[in-house]
């Protein structure tokens, strides 16, 4: 830090060094883990030579190991179905909370915020107990995991969409109503298209959050048939693990980054089309995760 006339970004100050060292520290280990997934040997700590052994050659590879296949498909199914359920319910809830005034609305609003500040283990225990003690007719495993994932991602959707609703304001819908549109038409033809970026952002955040979740999936898992990739990674601490664990983690990383890239592109294209009129959806993409 200099006295007077600091030009941002020009000089190599200690803060800049710390920041770039941090970025390196936060990302380099993951890159090494990705590299190890291409190891030709059995070691997870040192690299021999590049091969696809742990992706499809070895009997214990991602492609051949039945348990890893199950975990991968469970994780993806869970994430996609969570998106399909949480995003529409969350969008409707955000619109509803925006219009519905009164004490019940405030209560519903506070209720919606609670899962965001509740430690995951508490949600996990609560769901575990309720599915074993009350809703015991629901088959445990995948179905209960799905219900759990929707519950804790719903609030992210509401928060993201509501931010966008606030920046849009009510005037467009009012104009549509004045021009003779019904309530449903105004919603479908005017409001929903404007919510585009927030909806894409919600899809991205819900997918990444569901794919990342360990605690809730694990509390509601019933064994091998309902294991997910995070559960598999976690279990590798005790078993004699191979780079196949790195490989399955890498596959999930690539899928997540691809979804995020597609979502980001969709938002970018949308805003270009709209001439970047309203609000900032980019801000919304940074909210969850």
């Amino acid at each position: 830090m200099s006295v007077g006339g600091y030009r941002p970004g020009r000089r190599l100050g200690p803060l800049m060094v710390i920041t770039w060292l941090y970025v390196l520290w936060s990302l380099l280990p993951v890159l090494i883990a990705v590299r190890i997934s291409f190891n030709s040997g059995k070691s997870r700590s040192s690299f021999q030579s590049t091969s696809m052994r742990w992706y499809w050659e070895d009997p214990a590879s991602v492609w051949r190991d039945q348990a890893l296949q199950t975990a991968l498909s469970n994780t993806l199914k869970l994430a996609v179905l969570t998106m399909v359920l949480a995003v529409p319910i969350g969008v409707a809830m955000a619109i509803g909370l925006q219009r519905w005034r009164g004490r019940a609305s405030r209560a519903a609003n506070n209720l919606m915020l609670l899962p965001l500040v509740t430690p995951e283990i508490v949600i996990g225990v609560a769901l575990f107990l309720v599915f074993t003690q009350i809703y015991s007719s629901i088959p445990r495993g995948f179905t209960t995991q799905l219900l759990g994932h929707v519950t804790f991602t719903l609030s992210y959707v509401v928060v993201i969409v509501r931010g966008r609703l606030l920046s849009i304001g009510g005037q467009f819908e009012e104009a549509a109503r004045d021009l003779g549109a019904t309530r449903m038409q105004a919603l479908r033809l005017v409001l929903l298209p404007q919510l585009g970026p927030a909806i894409f952002a919600s899809f991205m955040v819900v997918f990444a959050t569901s794919v990342d979740d360990f605690v809730i999936s694990s509390f509601l898992s019933t064994g091998a048939s309902s294991e997910t990739v995070p559960i598999k990674i976690y279990a590798s601490a005790r078993a004699a693990a191979t780079p196949a664990v790195n490989a399955v983690a890498t596959v999930m990383l690539v899928v997540t980054l691809a979804i995020v890239a597609v979502g980001g592109l969709a938002i970018w294209a949308y805003r270009r089309n709209q001439g970047a009129t309203l609000g900032s959806a980019a801000a919304a993409t940074g909210i969850g995760g």
Partner: protein, 287 residues
């Protein structure tokens, strides 16, 4: 339109939360030793709760609570030391590279938490890169096993896991700071260091507190970071491990449920303190 979402949260958040209370204050079937939840508050019995409280205050679980608090405090201190300069630089000094830095700071959000831990498990193996670097620098034994229940491994793991969630809210707070106040301080003759100490830092306290709460809440309920990084060593056991054990490893859900309530009580005290501080700074800001 908010009705489906609200009903969903009532059915799958409120009722489950109540189930924790009903199980914690419920009875234990005298013959089957299974739990019998008490759904009506009139039927609540405090025996399990008294039992668990006795184990927390002065019993074997007390040590676990203290350890959880120490780990969380040490990791929070680490988050502040690393996170503050990074957030400060990105928000106020990065200039044209801000977009790039911000993108790199957000990147860990899209990488699964357990994959980031897996990366460290790879590095910290006895024959891994960390030991190779340390021995090349003559700083440690070549074959030290970091994954055998060392507390520094757990604390560093927690910092690594949670610091991205700390930096982003702090960045948002620092970015919103009123530039005019900082300029005024400089114009009135304060050095840039004393401006930071007497203007920027006090103004960023609410953001710092918010960021701290955001990482403290999940860290106090964490059980997978320490288990994963130490192979489940009892020397690094945290409260979350006990909760998980009571519910899944043994058939004592009522003890697990009462432990959850005790943990939440501790966290609510911390949250209450946070809200008091925020209210106070807002009052001062207005006067």
């Amino acid at each position: 339109m908010a009705i489906p979402g609200t009903l969903w949260l009532v059915a799958l958040f409120v009722i489950p939360a109540y189930a924790i209370l009903a199980v914690a204050f419920g009875d234990i079937d005298p013959i089957l030793r299974t739990t019998a939840p008490a759904w009506s508050p009139l039927a609540w019995s405090g025996s399990t709760m008294v039992d668990t409280l006795g184990r927390v205050f002065g019993g074997d679980l007390g040590k676990v609570f203290v350890r959880t608090g120490l780990y969380a405090a040490a990791a929070l201190a680490g988050c502040c030391l690393i996170g503050y300069p990074v957030a400060y630089f990105t928000a106020r000094r990065a200039g044209r590279s801000r977009g790039l830095v911000l993108g790199l700071l957000v990147l860990p959000f899209w990488i699964s938490y357990l994959m980031r831990m897996l990366a460290w498990v790879n590095l910290l193996q006895p024959d891994g890169y960390v030991n190779a670097i340390l021995s090349a620098l003559h700083l440690g034994a070549r074959d030290h096993n970091w994954l055998d229940g060392d507390w520094p491994t757990v604390v560093i793991g927690l910092i690594y896991g949670y610091v991205p969630f700390f930096i982003l809210p702090l960045y948002a707070a620092l970015e919103r700071l009123d530039e005019r106040l900082i300029e005024a301080s400089r114009d009135l003759g304060a050095s840039s260091f004393s401006t930071f100490l007497r203007v920027t830092l006090p103004l960023s306290v609410p953001g710092l507190m918010a960021a701290s709460v955001i990482v403290l809440l999940p860290m106090c309920g964490d059980y997978y970071t320490n288990t994963y990084l130490t192979g489940g060593s009892p020397r690094t056991e945290m409260v979350g491990n006990q909760i998980e054990f009571f519910l899944r490893g043994s058939s004592q859900p009522q003890s697990g449920a009462s432990l959850v309530i005790i943990l939440m009580a501790f966290l609510l005290v911390a949250m209450g303190y946070y809200l008091v501080v925020i209210a106070r700074t807002q009052r001062e800001g207005r006067s």
